[in-house]
Symmetry: C2
Subunit: 179 residues, 2 copies
């Protein structure tokens, strides 16, 4: 297993905000579904549900109520969470915190798999939850929590300011650097 | 970029609960730090902090207050979050939800990078937060939220029951399968 490929995907991934009018190939969708099915969940609660949207009209409907979706992606993966199921299967901490960590893990799998296939991606949290819920006909207990736009793009990533390594990472205890 | 490697890491990753007495090589730690520095955070809030613990005594101290840490890992990455900074830089939703999604994303980067290097890993949420905070000398506003154990292992993964694809993934709208 060559680790370079994972590091390459991690280092090159940036959020894409404009997309070409070009569909996502079937094998990419298959890999994304595989990644979803193999993502871990704390306490094995498996309280997440995913809706993969590729129909153009459905995408445009979702866009109307999703400020965080820029451009017209070829697909949107809607990551949903069932708080009640999280509570029953994993307990209070899973319902209040861990289910969001779980969503982050699977979101990361999706974006890295997309990136490895050369498909641009953009996670979004800015949308009208009730409207998205209605459009997707989600049951009462299942809420949309994150939208991931997918599509081919040749957009240049915009600059981003990040903290320095020593601000972010300590060794052995807080604010200690390596010797 | 060969996408097979990412899928391989995703499909083969299981939580490791016993470890060999063998240190993590420097290049693996470097890759993990790189992955941390390249992980996205919603609103670019960057409210997370990470402590990489490799000192044996420090690991044993953490273990005393971390029920979720099994065996004696060669390293523990402590993922921390600053709720106040999340609020200031990203707003209420970042403070209440998105910062946990962010943690999941970076946790996923860490475990996939470890997996790609053949290093076993295990995320844990079961620990005494205040005690871990004291041991690591974290400032008031920075809380430990997730521990990731790392180490070489030849343990066989235990069986796990998972839902079927159609229970977890819908197309276009809830509970619709592909045509």
């Amino acid at each position: 297993m060559k680790e370079l490929e994972i590091m390459e995907a991690i280092k090159t991934r940036r959020s894409s905000r404009s997309f070409e009018d070009r569909p996502i190939p079937e094998d990419v969708i298959t890999d994304i579904k595989d990644a979803i099915m193999h993502s871990p969940s704390g306490s094995n609660a498996q309280e997440s549900h995913f809706v993969i949207v590729q129909d153009k009209n459905q995408i445009l409907k979702l866009k109307r109520f999703a400020q965080g979706v820029s451009g017209t992606p070829a697909a949107i993966v809607v990551l949903c969470s069932n708080k009640q199921e999280a509570l029953i299967r994993g307990g209070q901490d899973t319902a209040e915190v861990l289910r969001f960590v779980n969503l982050g893990i699977v979101a990361s799998f999706i974006i890295l798999v997309a990136q490895s296939h050369g498909v641009g991606n953009c996670p979004a949290r800015s949308f009208h939850q009730q409207s998205i819920k209605q459009i997707l006909e989600l049951p009462e207990e299942v809420d949309p929590e994150l939208l991931i736009s997918l599509g081919y793009t040749d957009q240049k990533p915009r600059p981003k300011t990040i903290k320095s390594v020593t601000e972010v990472i300590s060794h052995e205890r807080y604010n200690y650097s390596e010797n």
